[in-house]
């Protein structure tokens, strides 16, 4: 599922910076999502945090795009919710986690929702399956009448 990494040349640029993330920098940020403007805010916040973790340009775009898809689903289907982005640390590995959650209608059939082209709103139906392809880890749980939580993570190459 993972794509091959052909980006060695640019990677060096962010590395020094990432090692010196000042402790004052917030490592977890929550963005309330209620309108299409919040979608833009969420992806900008996520991109900025991922930049501090040391992700390079191509990965920043992947992460920002994934956040955009998740935040838009909140606005579209649940009206409101939140996106939380957070720095991950596992030994020497660093990454970023994005959790989108809402208390909307939930998804009756998650297996269908995860298929390319499945949309109940006339969309392309690529949001959820696309996010799964973009990120390294993907978990979704949804309960009809209670809401939806999508948790995804990307680790630095």
């Amino acid at each position: 599922m993972r794509s091959d990494k052909h980006d060695g040349s640019v990677a060096a640029k962010g590395t020094g910076l990432a090692r010196n993330v000042p402790t004052s920098v917030s490592r977890e940020t929550s963005v309330p999502i209620e309108s299409d403007l919040d979608i833009v805010t969420a992806r900008q916040v996520g991109r900025a945090l991922a930049e501090r973790v040391g992700f390079e340009a191509g990965e920043l775009t992947l992460i920002a795009t994934a956040i955009s898809e998740l935040a838009r689903n909140i606005v579209l289907y649940a009206k409101r919710g939140e996106v939380v982005v957070k720095v991950l640390e596992n030994g020497t590995r660093r990454g970023i986690e994005v959790v989108s959650s809402d208390e909307g209608p939930g998804i009756p059939n998650v297996t269908h929702a995860m298929q390319d082209g499945y949309s109940t709103s006339g969309g392309l139906g690529l949001g959820l399956p696309g996010v799964k392809r973009l990120m390294d880890e993907f978990e979704i749980s949804s309960v009809v009448g209670h809401g939806t939580v999508v948790k995804v993570a990307k680790w630095r190459a």
Partner: protein, 120 residues
């Protein structure tokens, strides 16, 4: 953020200046569809150079935009899709099938000039 639309001869050029919200993009689509008739334009260029994200929504709106402009009798070229954005779009499964694209504004104008000559 409203996108400025410039009229240059037979063409309309929309050069996106900053990140756009969904409604900004829908507004741009509607404005171009309207202006192409008002100015009797033959071609439309949408410059997306500054966009760092093109997701399923923006791709769908750009596709709709190009088809609507086509129905209005003009052609659309999307210019400036960044390499990282192209990479992400392909992974996401997004396609701009049937829509003309060019590297930058200059190439986009050249494309419209060429295809315009062939048609007339």
């Amino acid at each position: 953020m409203e996108v400025p639309i410039l009229k240059q001869g037979d063409y309309l050029i929309a050069s996106i200046q900053s990140a756009l919200s969904d409604s900004d993009l829908v507004q741009l689509r509607d404005a171009l569809v309207e202006k192409v008739g008002r100015f009797r334009s033959r071609g439309v260029i949408v410059d997306v150079t500054v966009l760092d994200v093109m997701d399923s929504f923006s791709t769908r709106i750009l596709r709709d935009l190009a088809h609507m402009i086509r129905l209005r009798g003009a052609r659309t070229v999307i210019v400036g899709v960044q390499p990282e954005v192209a990479f992400t779009m392909v992974q996401l499964g997004l396609r701009l099938e049937g829509i003309a694209t060019a590297l930058d504004l200059e190439e986009g104008l050249a494309y419209l000039d060429e295809t315009g000559e062939k048609e007339s």
